[in-house]
Symmetry: C2
Subunit: 340 residues, 2 copies
DNA sequence: CTGTTAGCGCTTTCAA
DNA sequence: TTGAAAGCGCTAACAG
């Protein structure tokens, strides 16, 4: 910077002003500075800038740890892909605030808290904190202090920005699909990392309360890392013996296995078993044979929207809608049979 | 920091020394400082530290842009997952240096160059630069300047660290599998984002030179974002009309479609068509029905190894092996038939 | 072993 | 419209 100032025959303050458009500078000096910057191949240090301005041009992306890592979840990745899309056109970058479980125990507070306190990030994008009792209080505090946060999930506060797809709502609709098509015994495969176990059960209770006939739902927790043998055994029990006529999968990664299993047992979809899944990427469930009905939860869009709201507000623009709902569309591909 | 110094009744240098273990400090003072830090809930600013020490505790992850984004590629994500695994147990974080194509044109140099020049990252993990003629020169220059880099791909220099799976080698083996099982007309589906198009053709040329009978390989470029109709048309041409007896997929995402297509046309694997794919995640090809043979390229391990080498060297440890080869295992699941 | 002091590279009053 | 100077929060000689 000194060199630039020298070469352009001005003071470093003027260089700074040119860099930031922060005050009026005589056009000829502006040109001189620009020229000098070019010739010297000058790149300002964001670090020093950050120190002076308390700004880092970094956005943290955090998910509370669970049995699975951020990168093990297709949903999280779709979210991140959307965030990345929005961020990559700006001068901000994404920092992955992924957390080791051991770390958490040592620090006794989520990684994102440290990053905020150290002024290493200007804003935060969070997912799933609602479901994490360890992280939630810290999140709430940051929110109360008006730290710029966009989170994916139900709104919890007046502060911050959020995007949500209404999990309770589309799960309820899903149950409704089975119910109205006459299914009364359904198997639900819930991924262990999804953190939504409790909410799922809640929705079931609500659904039962509001419907006359009993909907028998057996929940199996699946684990991406697990050996598939365990799942196969469950399928044997519940499909072959208990005769469930419907299957719900909350992630797509188990679908192949299910279809293979049914195939091997001479059962077909939807003739013998109806299937509904959640897809976080459009048409992920259309690649199977047969194609599978799904609720499409547009994680990519959600991440993108969250990031866009955050960036806008960071730039000082006013964001009118601080809470955004995205609809989870039900896509009928013929894997649901009416058994009445 | 001042407050801590005051509270502990020492100077800020002593606080700094305690923080960094940089010099011997009297135990009782150490305790006093530690205590003051706790009480004040003091968190040192990595930013200021970085400015003074020229260190940021950040590792950049970069892939040259191509038709697809980093987050659209399963391979890249597996890599990143491995990197994350290694990084998450350290005090470093990953910065995603994803690039917008428009950005690149504006800056006229890859994003990672700016990050290095701005001292925003301490090290760099790169993938696929070998195949990118735009990024390669910059990469080479950084390497020559001994900037800490670990890259995935063929070794190009004495400097830096690299991990490679030997693309040419396992592609050659793959061709060999088809050849020795009597296949002479094979369809190869190459993902457009993989950047490996040229290398693939090179390997074919080499293979043909070294084998007496002609291996007829038709390459189709697939595009993850594309409508699948185009691929189906190609399959009709090449499988139904040209009667290719083998299919090679370099990514798993097209497998479902292929199996569905074959199924609809009353063709079965491996009776009518033999299939080999590349899987970047263990047993990804085992979920299909029937299961598909694959070369397992352990992207997760590769990312992990790259990150580990980089971190070790950043910590000042000496890394003896600066180049690591990981073997791509061929897994036979019965989707290859001998047609002799 | 410890305090003083001069930076790291930039921003931002404050005067001029 | 511009320059001088005082920081941002920390580290690293240097001197004692």
């Amino acid at each position: 910077m000194y060199e630039v100032a020298e070469k352009a025959d001005v003071s470093i303050s003027t260089v700074s002003r040119v860099l930031n458009n922060s005050a009026s500078v005589k056009p000829n000096k502006v040109d001189a500075v620009r020229k000098a910057m070019k010739e010297l191949n000058y790149v300002p240090s964001e670090l020093a800038r950050g120190l002076a301005k308390n700004v880092t041009k970094m956005i943290g992306f955090y998910m509370p740890f669970s049995s699975i890592s951020l990168f093990d979840s297709k949903y999280a990745l779709e979210l991140l892909r959307g965030v990345d899309k929005a961020i990559s056109t700006t001068d901000y970058s994404i920092v992955i605030l992924n957390e080791d479980v051991a770390d958490f125990k040592k620090l006794r507070q989520p990684k994102f808290v440290n990053y905020v306190m150290q002024n290493r990030i200007d804003g935060l994008i969070l997912n799933g904190i609602y479901q994490s009792y360890e992280s939630f209080p810290y999140f709430k505090k940051l929110l109360d202090n008006n730290f710029p946060i966009a989170y994916i999930g139900k709104r919890v506060n007046k502060e911050g920005f959020n995007v949500y797809a209404g999990y309770d709502k589309y799960i309820y609709s899903m149950l409704g699909e089975f119910y109205k098509n006459g299914h009364r015994k359904v198997l639900a495969l819930i991924n262990k990392g999804s953190l939504n176990f409790d909410r799922f059960e809640q929705v079931i209770r609500k659904f039962r309360k509001e419907h006359s006939e009993y909907l028998d739902i057996t929940i199996i927790e699946t684990n991406a890392a697990d050996n598939s043998q365990q799942l196969i055994n469950s399928l044997k029990d519940l499909i072959l013996i208990k005769k469930c006529t419907g299957i719900f999968c909350d992630i797509t990664s188990t679908i192949s296995l299910i279809l293979t299993f049914l195939n091997l047992n001479n059962l077909s979809v939807p003739k013998d078993v109806s299937v509904i899944a959640i897809e976080h990427h459009k048409d992920d469930c259309a690649v199977y044979y047969p194609q599978i009905n799904s609720f499409y939860v547009p994680a990519y869009d959600m991440g993108k929207i969250a990031a866009e709201m955050l960036i806008s507000s960071l730039r000082g623009e006013i964001v009118e809608e601080t809470s955004r709902f995205v609809h989870a569309n039900y896509i009928n591909r013929g894997s649901m049979k009416n058994v009445n």
